[in-house]
Point group: C2
Chain length 214, copies 2
């Protein structure tokens, strides 16, 4: 078995960013291969062979090609003893998965490139429609996450005193909020936790700006 | 601790349908309380107190109120010894979670009531816009699921010979495909597996038609 780890990703994809944070947190060496979403490379047959959904990321590891960022992070957490991406107790895991899904489903999936492109097609709109869409769903979605974080189980991070999968989802979404000019000034927990995470080396190394092609 | 299990759901919500299948599979008695999505009850303060996202389902169990259907199903699978909603091996769990996310994120989240209502608002469109949106995202999404099922790990069910969380996601999505007139004639694996599941008592008991208010 070739034990090189290869991540097919795109520098600005939130789902890729989550998996990069996980890999960096584990200190696992990996090679990145860019799939250029703007050039439509995700729809090419060679990428569909890796990921039939035509999305990034895809992770080659342990002789398999894995897709879906949350399922990848759960797999890493289960198979690498040094990973603690989910809490040790069932209720804690339920909460971390709830926060992760609240971001990955209700915000990220709705703001995905394919969805937005279809919105532009049926509205005939341009950049103002794109920005309006992002502001609405990122804004409403992160406000709901802020409400979920109003909970005694929230600590330095989304859940307790160490980063979990929920933080791996939160930071890329806050990056997107800033990118699209979403007003999150009132979301004090979201902002505080994202700031704390961003100071950590694993989060730094995974940043879009760090991995952006020259 | 009050040990009654209460599910706040809506008869036609896919995410609620998934959790009903899980509860019925466990043979756990539970009381349903309807949150009428058409009347906007999900946005009322008393429901936001249960689920800050303003979505269904919410499940009261073990002295907690849990949200997010996949996180609830994982919790049930971890805490009820009779549940086998995820496979015993890490790669199998990764695959079941990938299939579940491919349905719950890329199809269901994009076709949620709140998203569709916003599409109608910005397009000024009516029923034909709604139906077109459903056909596109359910059609493309289930075609990708069909491709993911073209895999030796697919068995009688999405993964192997017993129903898993992936099947709990698939059946409600096929129900939606039929509801909106999406052509899935070519998706032979999706249709075969949904048909097999629907014959099982737990899936029958969870059907929207079974629980629809009189």
């Amino acid at each position: 078995m070739n034990d090189e780890i290869v991540l097919f990703d795109y520098w600005r994809s939130s789902a890729s960013y989550r998996v990069r944070i996980a890999l960096e947190s584990l200190g696992l060496p990996y090679r990145r291969i860019s799939v250029d979403l703007l050039a439509g490379e995700q729809r090419a047959p060679e990428h569909r062979a890796r990921n039939p959904q035509g999305l990034v990321p895809a992770l080659m590891i342990d002789g398999q090609t894995l897709t879906q960022s949350l399922a990848i992070i759960e797999y890493l957490s289960e198979t690498r003893p040094q990973a603690r991406f989910l809490p040790a107790d069932a209720l804690g895991r339920q909460r971390v998965r709830t926060l992760s899904c609240a971001i990955a489903m209700e915000i990220h999936a709705v703001c995905n490139t394919g969805v937005i492109n279809h919105v532009l097609e049926i509205t005939g709109g341009g950049e103002e429609v794109r920005v309006g869409w992002m502001k609405k769903f990122i804004g409403d979605g992160l406000a709901a996450v802020e409400a979920l974080l109003d909970n005694p189980a929230t600590g330095t991070f989304c859940h307790g005193q160490a980063p979990t999968m929920a933080d791996f989802c939160l930071v890329p979404q806050v990056y997107n909020a800033e990118r699209w000019g979403v007003d999150i000034a009132d979301l004090s927990r979201v902002r505080r936790i994202a700031e704390t995470c961003r100071a950590l080396p694993a989060f730094q190394a995974a940043r879009p700006e760090t991995v952006k092609p020259a």
